[in-house]
Every structure is written in structure tokens, then in C-alpha cells.
């Protein structure tokens, strides 16, 4: 396990380095000099040169990368081109919306898909089992933003139960108001996520229900409930955990679209604004934080999978 942990951490660090290199190359070496974003179209060559040195674009590429790398690692993302405010505190304040949105939606989707997936598999001969399978099929074909639009139309414009969008200016000072503003976004993400997640739960349940170990346990006199909890849960969890990691990462990044639907001041709307304004320090800061989050989630999911599955735990060499 220790060997695996070390190996997996090495992969994590290497992946982060590769991803950072990709972000750097994409944003610097492609057409669209970052210095252009600072200037209007009629800038004189002197102004362009000054802007380039301010951004550091006049240095050799390698030196630029080293400087940039040093900044990223110390979480100093520089100042926004547009607002001239430092990027890092802005990201932190935006995360206060995006992280609760992601985690709440993920938790809800997890609970829902356990129920939906299990019933869809266990009661596949009943109408409600079939209906739940059909729901999963439908949910993976529906774009999340459309679900959001329909939920707003129904629950805030027609029935006025929840606010249609936005977030309290004072943030989490009033948790009730903050949660009310997150209710529909959370529901939107959770519904769509349940669609894909419950399909994995369903097929894992089908595998468990058809397994020899479950039949043996039942033959030995164990009740269905005990057999499922003692044997089924752990075996069924293994394929699901690795998907959970991907789903969590997808939810975090999918927040970009959902925040746009509900006008939430999260990381996603910050990224959209930064893209529209060619605000490179903001873009790369957000990309770095998102990349880090995605990679760490994958790392944790892999470790969790090892902890649940002893077969993997003992084969430390094979990754």
C-alpha cells in the first residue's frame, strides 16, 4: 500500500506538471499575445513593448515558464488585467459558492442514485423499476442548463418557491438565504448527475445480484438484507467509487454552465467573464485551481478504491 501511495503521488505531481505546461503553452504560445489584452487596437509599438514587459512576455519562453511556475506553486496568480486586483483572493471568494454547490449536488446525487440504481436493478420486472431505468436514459440525454431553465420556470417564476438566481451579497452570513439561492442549482446538477451515476449503481447491483457469493450466502441461511450489506455492498462499491471521482470532478467543472444559468457569482462565472475579457491572469489562475481539484479528486478516488478492495491493496506493484 505504501509503495502504491508513493507511486500514485508521483503520478499526481507529474500530472500536475504536465497540465501546467499545457495551460502555459495554450495561453502563451498560441495566437493572441497576453499583452494584447492590456491594450486597445491603436497602441503604439512602445506601448506594446511596455505592456509585454509588464506581463513578462518579452523574456525567453523558458524563463517565462519558470517565473510563471514559481507564481503558480506559491498560489500567487498575479493581478487581473481588468480590475488590477490580485487573482487569488477573488478565486477564494468565488469558491465559497462553487464548492458548496458542487458538494451538496454531489451528496444529493449520490443518495438519489443509490436508491434509483438499486431499485432499477432489483425491481426490473416492476413498472417502477422500468420507469427508473427510463429516467436514467433520459437524464443522460438532457443538457443540464435546460433542466435549470425549466426548474426556474416552474419553481421560481410560476410557484415562487425559490429565488430564480443570484446569491446574497453578504454571502453565507445568512445561511438560510444562501441555501435558498443554491436550492435550484443544486437540484439541477443533482438530477443530471443521478442519470449517469445511477446507471453504474444499477449495473453494479445487477452484478452483485447475479453473483455466486450472494447466492451462497443466501443458501447458507443469510437473509437478503444481511447478504447485501455484508457481501454485496463492498463488492458493488468497487466499480462505483472510481466513477464517483469522475462525477465529482465533472460536477465541479459543470458548475461553469449552471452558475451561468442561475447568475451565481462562482468560479465558473468568473472564468466566463475572464474569457470574454481576455483576462489571462484570471483564466490561468482558475484553470490551475480547477486542474488541481480534478487531479486531487482522482487521487482520492483511487486511494479509496484500494482501501475498499483488498485485492488491489495487496497487488501494490501493478497500477
Amino acid at each position: 500500500m505504501t509503495r502504491y501511495l508513493l507511486r500514485r503521488m508521483a503520478i499526481l505531481v507529474l500530472s500536475l506538471l504536465l497540465a501546467m505546461l499545457a495551460i502555459f503553452v495554450l495561453l502563451r504560445a498560441l495566437p493572441g499575445d497576453p499583452a494584447n489584452a492590456l491594450l486597445s487596437v491603436q497602441a503604439t509599438p512602445e506601448q506594446i513593448a511596455a505592456a509585454r514587459s509588464q506581463v513578462g512576455a518579452d523574456l525567453p519562453l523558458f524563463e517565462q515558464f519558470v517565473n510563471w511556475f514559481r507564481g503558480m506553486v506559491s498560489l500567487d496568480f498575479g493581478n487581473s488585467f481588468i480590475s488590477t486586483l490580485p487573482v487569488a483572493p477573488e478565486i477564494v471568494s468565488r469558491l465559497a459558492v462553487t464548492i458548496p454547490l458542487t458538494l451538496l449536488a454531489f451528496g444529493l446525487a449520490f443518495a438519489l442514485s443509490l436508491a434509483v440504481g438499486f431499485i432499477a436493478a432489483h425491481k426490473s420486472d416492476r413498472w417502477y423499476g422500468v420507469a427508473l431505468s427510463a429516467f436514467s436514459q433520459l437524464a443522460i440525454a438532457v443538457p443540464a442548463f435546460w433542466v435549470g431553465i425549466l426548474l426556474i420556470a416552474t419553481f421560481s417564476l410560476k410557484f415562487r418557491i425559490f429565488p430564480a438566481g443570484g446569491f446574497p451579497r453578504e454571502g453565507w452570513a445568512d445561511p438560510g438565504a444562501a441555501l435558498a439561492h443554491l436550492a435550484l442549482p443544486v437540484l439541477t446538477v443533482a438530477l443530471v448527475m443521478t442519470g449517469s451515476l445511477s446507471r453504474y449503481v444499477r449495473s453494479a447491483t445487477l452484478d452483485v445480484l447475479g453473483s455466486d457469493y450472494l447466492r451462497n450466502a443466501r443458501a447458507m441461511g443469510s437473509t437478503m438484507g444481511t447478504a447485501m450489506i455484508r457481501h454485496g455492498l463492498r463488492n458493488g462499491a468497487i466499480p462505483v467509487i472510481s466513477i464517483l471521482g469522475i462525477e465529482l470532478a465533472t460536477a465541479f467543472l459543470g458548475a461553469v454552465v449552471i452558475e451561468a444559468v442561475f447568475a451565481l457569482p462562482g468560479l465558473g462565472s468568473m472564468l466566463l467573464k475572464a474569457i470574454a475579457q481576455h483576462d489571462y491572469p484570471n483564466i490561468q489562475g482558475i484553470l490551475f485551481v480547477s486542474t488541481l481539484a480534478v487531479l486531487v479528486i482522482g487521487f482520492v478516488a483511487d486511494i479509496a478504491q484500494r482501501l475498499v478492495d483488498p485485492r488491489l491493496r495487496h497487488s501494490a506493484g501493478a497500477a
Binding site: I11, L14, S15, L18, A19, L26, L27, L30, P31, G32, S124, D125, Q137, L138, I140, A141, V142, P143, A144, F145, W146, I149, L150, I152, A153, L157, K158, L206, L209, G210, I246, A249, T250, L253, G254, V256, V257, A260, V261, L271, L272, I275, A276, I283, L287, S290, T291, V294, L295, G298
Partner: protein, 293 residues
């Protein structure tokens, strides 16, 4: 699947004596195939038709604002007085172009990369696989946003961006399946008899990996269509007057109460296309591989 826990009756026993997989499941699959064909076929026809004929000019604003559905405007008009049905028709074309284009780009990049990784053993293979895994960890949407951010929004950029971010998934699958084929003895036999690697790829590898890879490519189509819609919704897709369904939904969001059809019709078209393709794949897979089911 449904019949698996029932004891097989003699009537259900198939000709070759195998345990039946349940006639109901098979019927459901052929139904899936038919429904999928109808949905995809209808949308493809509309998209084709939109090239030659449209009920109105897409920038014709002579209709009343936010009119309800009627004889002249079948789905009503938007807040600028443009015919909604016309825009949904154009949206069908854009969705198909983006979906097919993205899958094409994904296959054109992913399959050669995956094949090369399968042939190259050792550290080259390891490095390529690690790079694919990292790319796959990034959802299609974020990568596509990045590329659109740098290149500017257009249908071509969006399509290539989605295809590019898809190529890693295609590459990984191609590598796995191709590796399995390369381990077969007929490959060794072909090598021993002096067949070049290029001919082996053409004669043995490609035909054997195609069934699996093509199913995966087809299922990526739905993902691509949804990604294009999301990007267009965010304003990062094809610029007007090429109204993608995502852009239509974004424009209709503010008038969802007064003119609900504008916020519903493009969404239904979108869902119908993605579900249609998914059903089609399910049905076709059954035909292509009857033993597995």
C-alpha cells in the same frame, strides 16, 4: 437481462440450444432501434431540408414579437419577431454538423494515437497512456472552453475543440482493443510470413477493433451534441444567425413565462436527437453482437 432469473421453459429454448436471454429484452431492443431510427431520421431530414428550404429567412423580423404558434409561424416567434421553427431547423443542421464533425476529429486524432501506443511497447506506451489519462480527467467542456477562449467562438472552433478533447477517450479505447488484437497468434503468423506492419493494421487490426471503437464513437456523438449546446448557451458557440439550439435556449430563457415554447422546443429537439442516437446504438449493438446480449 430480464429473463435471467427465471427458469427457462422449453418454448424459450433457442434453436442452437443456448440459454435464452429473454424474448422480451430482444423485443425492447428492436423497439429501441425503431424509435431511434425514427428520431434520428426525422432530425436528419429536417437538417437536410434546411439547406434547400426554410419557411422564413432566419433574420426576417417581420413576424410579431413573441407570437404564439399559428398557421404562419408553426412554433411562434422569438422576441425579435423571428420564426422559431426556422431557427430550430437551422439548429438541427448545426447540431448534426457539430456532432459528426467532433466525432470525426476525435477519431482522426484518437485512433492513430491509440494504435501507435498499442504498437509501441515499454516507456513510450506508458508515457502516452499517462498523457491520455490526464487528458481524459478533463471534461470535454472545460478543454473546449479553453480552446474557444484562445481561438474565438465559431462553429468550426467549437467542433474541433470538442473533437480534440474527445480524442483522448478514443485513443485510450483504441489502444486497449488494439493491444488485445496484437496479442493474437494470427498476428504472429502474419509477421512470420513477412506481412508489413502497415498491412497488418489494415487487414487484421482495423477490422477487428472497428466494432468496439465505432460503438464508442457513436456514443460520443451525443456527448458532442450536448457539449456544443452548452458552449453555445454560454455564448461560446456559432455566432448568429447560425442559431444553435443552445443559443436559442439562452435567448428564450428571459421570456420563458410569456413564451414558453421558445424555451421548450429547442430543448426537446436536442433531447430527441441525443436519445435517438443512444437508442440507435443500443439496437444496432444487438444486431452486431447477438451473442453478448
Amino acid at each position: 437481462m430480464t429473463g435471467a432469473n427465471r427458469p427457462a421453459t422449453s418454448a424459450e429454448t433457442t434453436r442452437d440450444g443456448a440459454v435464452p436471454s429473454g424474448g422480451r429484452a430482444r423485443n425492447r431492443r428492436s423497439l429501441a432501434l425503431i424509435v431511434g431510427l425514427v428520431l434520428v431520421g426525422a432530425i436528419a431530414l429536417v437538417a437536410l431540408l434546411s439547406i434547400f428550404w426554410l419557411p422564413f429567412d432566419p433574420s426576417d423580423t417581420t413576424g410579431g414579437r413573441l407570437e404564439g404558434p399559428g398557421l404562419a409561424h408553426w412554433l411562434g416567434t422569438d422576441r425579435l419577431g423571428r420564426d422559431l421553427f426556422t431557427q430550430v431547423m437551422i439548429g438541427a443542421r448545426i447540431a448534426l454538423v457539430a456532432g459528426i464533425g467532433a466525432v470525426g476529429v476525435g477519431a482522426a486524432i484518437g485512433m492513430p494515437v491509440g494504435l501507435s501506443a498499442a504498437f509501441a511497447a515499454g516507456w513510450v506506451d506508458d508515457t502516452m497512456s499517462a498523457a491520455m489519462d490526464i487528458l481524459i480527467a478533463f471534461p470535454v467542456l472545460l478543454l473546449a472552453m479553453l480552446i474557444v477562449a484562445v481561438q474565438g467562438a465559431s462553429l468550426a472552433t467549437v467542433t474541433v475543440a470538442i473533437g480534440l478533447s474527445m480524442s483522448a477517450i478514443v485513443a485510450r479505447l483504441t489502444r486497449v482493443v488494439a493491444k488485445r488484437v496484437l496479442a493474437q497468434q494470427y498476428i504472429t503468423a502474419a509477421r512470420t510470413s513477412g506481412t508489413s506492419w502497415l498491412s497488418i493494421v489494415r487487414q487484421h487490426v482495423l477490422p477487428n477493433i472497428w466494432p468496439t471503437v465505432s460503438v464508442n464513437l457513436a456514443s460520443q456523438f451525443g456527448v458532442a451534441v450536448l457539449a456544443e449546446a452548452s458552449l453555445s448557451y454560454l455564448g461560446l458557440g456559432a455566432p448568429p444567425p447560425n442559431s444553435s439550439w443552445g443559443r436559442l435556449l439562452q435567448e428564450a430563457q428571459s421570456t420563458v413565462v410569456t413564451a414558453p415554447l421558445g424555451a421548450v422546443a429547442p430543448g426537446i429537439a436536442l433531447v430527441a436527437l441525443v436519445i435517438g442516437v443512444n437508442l440507435l446504438i443500443d439496437g444496432l449493438r444487438d444486431i452486431a453482437d447477438p451473442i453478448q446480449n
